[in-house]
């Protein structure tokens, strides 16, 4: 069963517990700059938006990697960076159009969300349920896809490379 992080920014109060939990889980330090999940603030309208990797089915980062250091975990669908193979070239950081693969200058490798192998620390830390971890088919995930499809049909991006219908 594949599960996904479902984020409801309406419930986010901007407390950044998720960032703290993530950096502690991953790097053993409370350092929000190293968190794989980031909370963005919209000062004008007092909104907070937690944001992280959506584990694309066909991932741009994975395809761009010159040494196959990013693989897909068969069970969870998670895109994993293997530190022993990653050379730190950063091509994945510019290839990911969501900007969710980041360079870590301390390790010289890249970091991205791996859903903590099924027990996401951010979800556990979130006091308001703005972040939940749910079965993909029971969550808004399908809705999210539908919504995305509608929005794409309704307002096709106007670039020279509009999405290729599948």
């Amino acid at each position: 069963m594949q599960k996904a992080l479902v984020i409801d920014p309406g419930k986010c109060t901007g407390c950044k517990q998720c960032e703290m939990a993530c950096s502690y889980e991953k790097d053993n330090e409370f350092n929000v700059a190293k968190s794989r999940i980031r909370v963005f603030e919209f000062h004008e309208d007092g909104k907070f938006v937690p944001y992280t990797c959506t584990q694309c089915a066909e991932a741009w980062c994975q395809q761009a990697c010159p040494v196959n250091a990013i693989t897909t975990d068969a069970a969870s669908g998670v895109k994993l960076v293997h530190d022993n193979l990653c050379v730190g070239c950063k091509v994945c950081t510019i290839a990911c159009p969501f900007g969710t693969v980041n360079y870590n200058s301390t390790t010289g490798k890249v970091i991205k969300c791996d859903l903590c192998f099924g027990e996401p620390a951010c979800e556990a830390a979130c006091p308001t349920d703005a972040i939940t971890y749910q079965d993909i088919d029971q969550t808004g995930f399908d809705k999210m896809k539908m919504w995305a499809k509608q929005s794409a049909d309704g307002a096709e991006p106007s670039g020279p490379n509009p999405p290729v219908a599948h």
Binding site: T54, P66, V67, N68, I94, F98, A148, P160, N161
Partner: protein, 435 residues
């Protein structure tokens, strides 16, 4: 049903390997032959700098880490160098006399370094940095404190610079253009890189040509004479003065050539059943809609996938690839995307802090982002690609960015929320819905 289709892929870099995998994913039974021009298993040129650092061994440069990968896919990988293409008889003639027949052929032969007409460029101790064989030669000479002259400070030259610096070489970089990475970034960004290098003890000589390389009787083995009359001693000279596509063997074949191999939207060449992908071909540049040479790894992979699909009979147009680069220069990280130079009549937003080596420049056409450059900024830079690739209308966020470019990430989220971005060639993926 017996499938007698024989796909031949010439060239085993990222374009060729990706194409082979893509064809196999769609055609389980066809015969697939992948021919590499070099003796090693398929590897990634862009991993060579990390081999020079010493952070990986040769195996770490291989495109696929599982040694059984090609067998498992039933891809017949062999070493061979094409000398002639005969599209009438559907044959590729290899060095040594073998002729390989194909039903469909992919040309993924990449590019090779240009050797500028410099007297002495053929001396021992002068090397390109393009193949694993080159890397082995460089490793023999690039010792700690060895004086090394690097010819060319373009994108690849600057990557090689980093590797040689990490090895502890005493570096002089000679560049004919007025600044480093002149085809990737503007004066401000290129200037920052130059200043950074000088601060790190690397001698960067711009606006200068190498006139001659000669042997010396002194301590160092070579002497490099520059157009500014300086004579620089060197144990090793590394050439990074540009590349040209490997198309010489196609002369007279009927495959039309421009700057590189000409292809249509389906990456077909002008010869029947012959496709091309990667550094050797002129694919569409997403930013201009026109064919161009975008000699970078992600584009080679995109081409490889699209060519592979078309060869396997799944008609897939190539809508264009985005030019983009990222560079780490002794800890200063820079990147550029799309029309980094902007467009006539467009607007720009920029943020410059020379003392902190920070720079962000955003180029708009109407209210769409069309290009960007960053120095000293790495977090979430991929969003720049997302915005450019999808061509979202940014509306009021464009004005906010002109006011405060550092709001880039917030602007991205506001504009791209829940919207779709087509996968490299596959199904759509979407940004999280945040409302």
């Amino acid at each position: 049903m017996v499938n007698s289709m024989h796909y031949v892929i010439l060239g085993a870099g990222p374009a060729g390997v990706t194409a082979a995998e893509t064809i196999r994913a769609h055609d389980k039974t066809a015969t697939l032959t992948l021919i590499g021009g070099e003796p090693e298993p398929p590897y990634s040129r862009m991993a060579i700098p990390y081999l020079l650092h010493g952070s990986i061994n040769e195996h770490g440069t291989y495109l696929r880490q599982d040694d059984n990968h090609y067998n498992a896919l039933n891809v017949n990988y062999k070493h061979g160098f094409a000398e002639r293409l005969d599209p009438q008889n559907k044959q590729v003639h290899l060095k040594g006399g073998e002729a390989v027949s194909y039903d469909k052929l992919l040309l993924a032969v990449g590019a090779s370094p240009i050797s500028p007409p410099i007297p002495g460029a053929d001396l021992p101790g002068v090397h390109n940095c393009w193949t694993l064989a080159d890397a082995r030669e460089i490793l023999k000479l690039a010792d700690k404190n060895a004086p090394v002259v690097l010819v060319g400070a373009g994108f690849i030259g600057s990557i090689v610079l980093e590797a040689l610096y990490q090895r502890g070489c005493r570096l002089t970089v000679v560049e004919i253009a007025p600044r480093m990475v002149a085809r990737m970034m503007d004066e401000t960004a290129g200037g920052m890189l130059g200043d950074w290098c000088v601060a790190k003890g690397v001698d960067v000589v711009t606006d200068t040509r190498v006139e001659e390389i000669s042997t010396t009787s002194g301590g160092a083995d070579l002497a490099v004479r520059l157009s500014n009359r300086n004579l620089i001693p060197a144990k090793l000279v590394v050439m990074a003065a540009g590349v040209k596509p490997n198309t010489a063997f196609l002369d007279g074949s009927g495959v039309e050539l421009g700057q590189g191999i000409k292809v249509n939207n389906f990456l077909e060449t002008t010869a029947p059943d012959v496709y091309a992908a990667g550094d050797c071909c002129e694919g569409i540049d997403l930013s201009t809609g026109k064919p161009d040479m975008l000699a970078i790894q992600p584009v080679a992979v995109e081409h490889g996938r699209i060519a592979g699909k078309n060869m396997a009979g799944i008609k897939t147009p190539h809508e264009g690839s985005l030019n983009m680069n990222v560079l780490d220069t002794m800890g200063l990280i820079s990147s550029s995307f799309g029309l980094w130079q902007g467009t006539p009549g467009g607007t720009t937003a920029s943020l410059t802090d020379s003392s902190k080596f920070k720079y962000l420049k955003l180029n708009f056409e109407d209210d769409r982002l069309i290009g960007a450059q960053c120095v000293g900024m790495t977090d979430h830079v991929g969003m720049l690609r997302g915005l450019i690739q999808t061509g979202f209308r940014m509306g009021e966020w464009k004005d906010k960015l002109i006011e405060s470019p550092e709001l880039l990430r917030e602007a991205y989220l506001a504009v791209a929320q829940g919207a779709t971005i087509s996968g490299p060639t596959g199904p759509r993926v979407s940004t999280p819905v945040v409302d």
